[in-house]
């Protein structure tokens, strides 16, 4: 009984400490720049990380040469836009590139701690299916999203994260007519 009480105490302490830490931003890879080429191969400039939700703006023209150049897209972490979304074990860190027409350019899986991530999320075919995907699609696993494996909790969370984060970004920075 005493043994059990000690275990409970240990778990509660660890839980409280971690809960307190949740109020901060989910820590992501601090140097995502190498992925930018994958997301927007034709971009020439990127803004600093900022805004609400946190994101990088992507430019087709050098913003120093033409300060009025509009962004051609956005790069953001799904963990910043939908911080409450979690898979089987924690948030899955996707870096997403979306253009100003609400079309996902590409998705990079930067980090996950899913027990079954190694055969569900990690293999390239999963993120590859989001390339050039419109955010108006239903994002239904088993429908327009192939599950790739039976790690259902993991895959469902990934699909939700990508669907909801891209739509929230569109609603914040774009207008309905821009997104076909």
């Amino acid at each position: 009984m005493k043994r059990f009480g000690v275990l409970i105490l240990l778990f509660s302490t660890a839980g409280i400490v971690t809960l307190a830490a949740q109020t901060k931003r989910i820590f992501t890879n601090p140097r995502p720049e190498p992925h930018f080429k994958t997301l927007f191969p034709n971009a020439v400039g990127f803004s600093a990380f900022g805004g609400t939700p946190l994101h990088y703006k992507v430019y087709g023209e050098d913003p120093k040469a033409n300060p009025a150049a509009p962004p051609i897209g956005f790069i953001f972490w799904t963990t910043d836009v939908v911080p409450n979304e979690r898979g089987y074990h924690g948030a899955i860190h996707f870096l997403v590139g979306m253009d100003t027409k609400g079309v996902i350019q590409n998705v990079v899986l930067d980090y996950n701690s899913e027990p079954y991530g190694y055969f569900s999320l990690d293999p390239p075919p999963f993120v590859a299916q989001f390339k050039n995907k419109s955010i108006r699609d239903p994002f239904r696993v088993g429908g327009d999203i192939a599950a790739v494996s039976r790690a259902s909790i993991t895959i469902a969370s990934a699909a939700r994260a990508l669907r909801d984060s891209t739509r929230i970004m569109a609603k914040t920075f774009l207008t309905p007519d821009q997104v076909k």
Binding site: M1, R3, F4, L7, F11, A14, G15, T18, L19, Q22, V82, N84, E85, R86, G87, Y88, H89, G90, S113, P115, Y116, Y118, F119, I135, R136, D137, P138, F139, S149, R150, A151, I153, A156, S157, R160, R163, D164, R167, I168, A170, K171, T172, P176, V179
Partner: protein, 303 residues
Amino acid sequence: MGLALSAVEGQPAADPWGFAEVAVETWAEILRPQSLDLALLVAFLALAVVSFMRKSVPLKLVTFAFAIGYMGFAKSYLISITNIFSALDWNWPVPKYNLAWYLFFGFTVVSTVLWGRLYCGRICAYGALTQALDVMLPARWRFEVPKAIEKRASFIKFGLLAALLGYYLLTHDLLIYQYVEPFWMFGMFGTTIMWSMLVVLLAVTVVVRNVYCRFLCPVGAALGLMSYLTVFKIKRWSECNTCKMCQKTCQWGAIEGPRILVTECVRCDDCERLYADTAKCPHWRIIEYNEKKVRVFTLQPVR
């Protein structure tokens, strides 16, 4: 925890975005895709509990079949050391989208507090597999572990549990589960090393029955510790102080004279069926002798 898809306050009634899903999900929309899952899980858990309550061997075997086939291969619903790691991280799946998982986890905790390691004995797909193997394989292939080794070996799982918790707190390496549990086998994805280790484990299990569950499973160790809270314990009588029939029958090393070792007992009910048997259990035979002066009992071979 609602995910409001609209970032704009005071949105007009008609959503100008018109995305495929509605802006805020109703409970019906959240529940409908999960309803089949939930129904099947409830049905399986009911089957397991009924098989336990009725102390029925045929129902127990049916439970094993569904545990292996449905809970194991179809759904991979198993409690893993990763769930204990998640408890340390306070890091579990989103509840509203994973109700079946929470029901499964909740049932495991509640049933352990009520009855002990019932999860290990009836629900766990691997536990069902190892017990099904024990039923199907010849009894003469069994290697009876000497008592002295058996008692000490059962502590290995506690050491393993402690080591894994410490390891995880230091490294956050979730993937260590691949080398300390066989439950991934039901997902059918593994590296060559993992499959090789599994083959060795299964080969040993052929002769030392239930070897993983008894000596090596860290989840079993954790549930075993929780089993100190068991509400509905196995009944014992004064005759149990000297009779050793149940102790010799128990395949899990969970009986020591009058005492049931709750960390080892998985409620397989071999002993409960034995002591309910009025022809075999000395408790009943002695009562019958005192009432009717009949012979106490003819010596029966123990299984």
